[in-house]
């Protein structure tokens, strides 16, 4: 295997999967938020919920489309970049991916049409059901994908015959040891990403003075949900970390920048991990805190990277990504709690301007945290593709570096263009929607008759 091809193939897949995850991370949770808006409208008949629903439906449709196209690209890249993966693990990965397509993809893709355009053609109840099915479908999709991903970190329920994996226990495979933690962690991440996006866009609308009652309703719903979700996420992240310590101690050692096995290990707040000297330069440490957090004993022993020499991930990217994720989480905690505290006495429109600006800047903070978190877990799995069993290099396709380089540069240009277009269109919709367009859109369900 040409090492240049391998690194290019990895960058290509990483670029694609990083681009892809931005959009499902929003739609998984936004589907449920839309259902919430619908249900509020049904309960109150207040048109602000209806307006909020229609405004966010537009962004949902756009986000969903980007998720679909990048997801399709990924489903092909399994084969074009990692043919050895399916040849070796196909018996296990195949059915999980198959169930995703059969139980989730078709459901969400088919009912999306009804949810977006079915108004006036179906009853209010059917429209509500379609919204539910889309939200449910996106969540099911996450279920299967995270099951497979988690299995790659904590493989169980299989036997290897002639170099190929065979399933022995499907229940154990689907609900493998890291799955419940990773699935919950990701759903909460999705919730937070969506909440900060809704809050950020709404804050921007307030600053631009194009806000309405619908903007305020969406803002409040999002920021309150964020304030509730973030402590749960911090707690869940801790459990996930403990689970990782149990199954992938090398990853945790890289996250903590722990080069040597020691008792009473310090928590490294900052430092520059140096793979040559195998130590952290300019480290700022809190004594014994890492041991306390991870073993719940200040003198507990933590395994260091020296126990995994040659088989541990690159330390720097894992170490830094972890700090970015945690830092963003802390910022989310501060921002959401401060806002909720202020909202007890104020309305969204009278919040202090610096706070609204801050929230606007945090509109995609969920993306930062989610990507950083995924880099921790995926780079932390290296050099393996199935942890402890198969390395990434064993499964790579033998393409010439020039070909991968060429396609990679086109993908990167395309994704950069699409990302810029997406952000500009969201901004445009935000600034335009409440200047009357969204207001004029809805015709009430009470009058619309099903025509099918």
């Amino acid at each position: 295997m040409d090492p240049t091809s391998l690194i290019l193939a990895r960058i290509q897949f990483a670029a694609n999967i990083s681009f892809h995850i931005l959009f499902p991370t929003i739609t998984i949770a936004l589907g449920w938020m839309l259902l919430f808006f619908r249900l509020r409208f049904r309960a109150t008949r207040d048109s602000k919920w209806e307006e909020a629903y229609y405004f966010w439906t537009k962004i949902f449709a756009l986000t969903f489309a980007l998720g679909v196209v990048s997801g399709i690209t990924m489903s092909f890249q399994f084969g074009t970049n990692w043919p050895g993966f399916m040849e070796k693990v196909g018996n296990i990965a195949g059915p999980l991916l198959g169930y995703e397509v059969l139980t989730a993809f078709f459901l969400e893709a088919t009912f999306l049409g009804v949810m977006l355009f079915g108004r006036g053609r179906v009853s209010e109840r059917m429209h509500l059901i379609a919204t539910f099915l889309v939200a449910f479908g996106t969540t099911m999709s996450a279920f299967w994908i995270l099951s497979l991903n988690s299995w790659m970190h904590t493989p169980v329920g299989y036997e290897i015959i002639n170099g190929r994996f065979h399933a022995t226990d499907w229940w154990a495979i689907v609900f493998n040891p890291s799955f419940p933690y990773r699935f919950t962690h990701m759903l909460l991440a999705s919730g937070l990403t969506m909440c900060f996006m809704v809050a950020g866009v709404s804050a921007w609308q307030i600053l631009k003075k194009v806000d309405s009652a619908a903007t305020h309703a969406a803002f409040k719903s999002a920021i309150v949900a964020a304030a509730v979700l973030i402590p749960v996420q911090i707690f869940m992240g801790d459990l996930h970390g403990l689970n990782t310590l149990k199954h992938q101690p090398a990853k945790v050692a890289a996250m903590e920048g722990l080069w040597e096995t020691e008792k009473g290990a310090p928590l490294v707040l900052f430092g520059i991990p140096d793979p040559v000297t195998r130590s952290n330069l300019y480290a700022i440490e809190i004594p014994k805190l890492a041991s306390l957090i991870l073993t719940h004993d200040p003198n507990g022993e933590l395994k260091g990277l020296n126990d995994f020499e040659g088989k541990h991930p690159p330390v720097g990217p894992v170490f830094w990504s972890f700090r970015v994720m945690v830092g963003t989480g802390m910022l989310m905690l501060a921002a959401s709690w401060l806002t909720v505290a202020l909202l007890r006495k104020r309305t969204p429109a009278t919040l202090p301007k610096p706070l609204l600006w801050g929230l606007s800047l945090m509109v995609f903070s969920g993306w930062v945290a989610t990507l950083a978190g995924w880099y921790v877990t995926e780079i932390g799995r290296q050099p393996y593709i199935v942890y402890g069993v198969i390395t990434v290099a064993e499964t790579a396709a033998k393409h010439a570096p020039a070909m991968i380089g060429l396609t990679l540069s086109v993908y990167l240009a395309l994704y950069a263009g699409l990302l810029i277009a997406y952000i500009l269109v969201v901004k445009r919709l935000a600034e335009k929607a409440t200047r009357g367009e969204a207001l004029s859109l809805p015709t009430s369900f009470n009058r619309a008759q099903p025509s099918a």
């Binding site: 229609y54 537009k58 449709a61 756009l62 969903f64 489309a65 679909v68 196209v69 990048s70 997801g71 399709i72 690209t73 489903s75 399994f78 084969g79 074009t80 043919p83 399916m86 040849e87 196909g90 018996n91 195949g94 059915p95 991916l97 198959g98 169930y99 397509v101 059969l102 078709f106 459901l107 893709a109 088919t110 009912f111 999306l112 049409g113 009804v114 977006l116 355009f117 079915g118 108004r119 006036g120 053609r121 179906v122 065979h166 399933a167 499907w170 396709a397 393409h399 070909m403 396609t407 086109v410 395309l414 699409l418 277009a421 445009r428 004029s440 859109l441 015709t443 619309a448 099918a452």
Partner: protein
């Protein structure tokens, strides 16, 4: 288990063929409409054309994921071999599908001054994806050979597939449109029938010439006579297509659907012909379905899932098509 090990790969080959056919027909009309977009008379007509496929394209594209998904799930060895051999055309197709998919949303949301740009991306993406799919089909039939005759053959199919999709797209518009647009769609169908028919004929002649395995299969007696209905019925369907697409009065009498259905019949026959030609291989002369298949216990797990979900998928797909039955209106999220 022995019988299952023999039968299941064939079952999955059939389901995969069905998924691919469903994809070609369903996304085929979307892509066809995309390629026809620049020929619309005005902006309102463009909106209507896009609206006619708006509620469906996403689900239509999912059949491609199902087809590739089954290839991956049921035939992991063929999956790796085929997709690594098709690295570049797959990449080109994905770029096309990406542009097409996002242009759907961007053209309506990015503002009027950007609409022309995204319309162009929509058409370009539709064409790029269609042509790449044609190239892939050609490559697949020739077992990924690389010589100039093969490239010429691939190029021929790369041009025939967009023509096919344009006929489907025009056929779709004949059913979904009224008035001027319908008349225009009828003309587009007729214009595309010629390259479409030439494409089918050329592929039918070139395929046995380029593949000895297929030549032996087609012209072996008595199989030759058993196969004869396929080309004969194809000729009949093309004739029906030609006849109806030239006569507005037949469409006015309520038989406009014949254009779409005749194309569907041709594609069905082509699929049957292809299936017969490659059986029992999944990559001609290189890998048969049993060599490529997953372990039987994995196939059983997927079969159970498929038996429950596929009827449901077909059921709710029909349900959604019924909701949007009838002539297309310009779509909005509100009404």
């Amino acid at each position: 288990m022995e019988t299952l090990a023999t039968v299941l790969p064939l079952v999955f080959m059939a389901v995969m063929g069905l998924a691919m056919l469903a994809y070609v027909v369903l996304d085929g009309y979307d892509l066809g409409v995309g390629m026809l977009l620049p020929r619309a008379a005005n902006d309102a007509e463009k909106d209507l054309m896009v609206s006619s496929i708006g509620p469906f394209w996403d689900a239509n594209e999912t059949w491609l994921v199902l087809g590739v998904g089954i290839l991956l799930v049921a035939f992991p060895f063929a999956h790796g071999l085929i997709l690594t051999s098709l690295y570049l055309p797959v990449f080109v197709m994905l770029v096309g599908l990406t542009l097409r998919g996002v242009a759907f949303d961007f053209r309506g949301k990015a503002g009027d001054h950007r609409k022309a740009f995204w319309n162009a991306m929509f058409t370009a993406g539709s064409f790029i994806a269609s042509a790449a799919q044609g190239w892939m089909l050609g490559s697949y039939i020739t077992s990924f050979r690389s010589d100039w005759w093969t490239y010429a053959f691939n190029l021929l199919i790369a041009m025939a597939v967009p023509a096919t999709y344009v006929v489907l797209g025009a056929g779709w518009l004949i059913m979904k449109a009224e008035g001027d647009l319908q008349v225009r769609a009828l003309r587009w169908a007729r214009q595309a029938v010629i390259p479409f028919a030439i494409g089918i004929a050329a592929i039918s002649i070139a395929t046995p010439l380029i593949s000895e395995t297929i030549f032996n299969k087609w012209f072996r007696l008595p199989d030759f006579f058993a196969l004869l209905p396929i080309p004969l019925m194809t000729v009949a369907a093309v004739a029906a297509l030609w006849h109806v697409s030239g006569r507005k009065q037949i469409v006015d009498a309520g038989y406009g659907w014949i254009v779409f259905v005749a194309t569907l019949v041709i594609l069905l026959l082509a699929t049957l012909g292809l299936a017969f030609s490659i059986y029992p291989y999944i990559v001609i002369d290189r890998l048969n379905v049993w060599e490529a298949a997953s372990a039987t216990e994995s196939l059983v797990i997927i079969l159970i899932g498929t038996l429950f979900t596929l009827p449901a998928i077909i059921g709710y797909t029909i349900f959604v098509y019924r909701i949007f039955w009838g002539k297309a209106r310009v779509l909005s999220y509100g009404a």
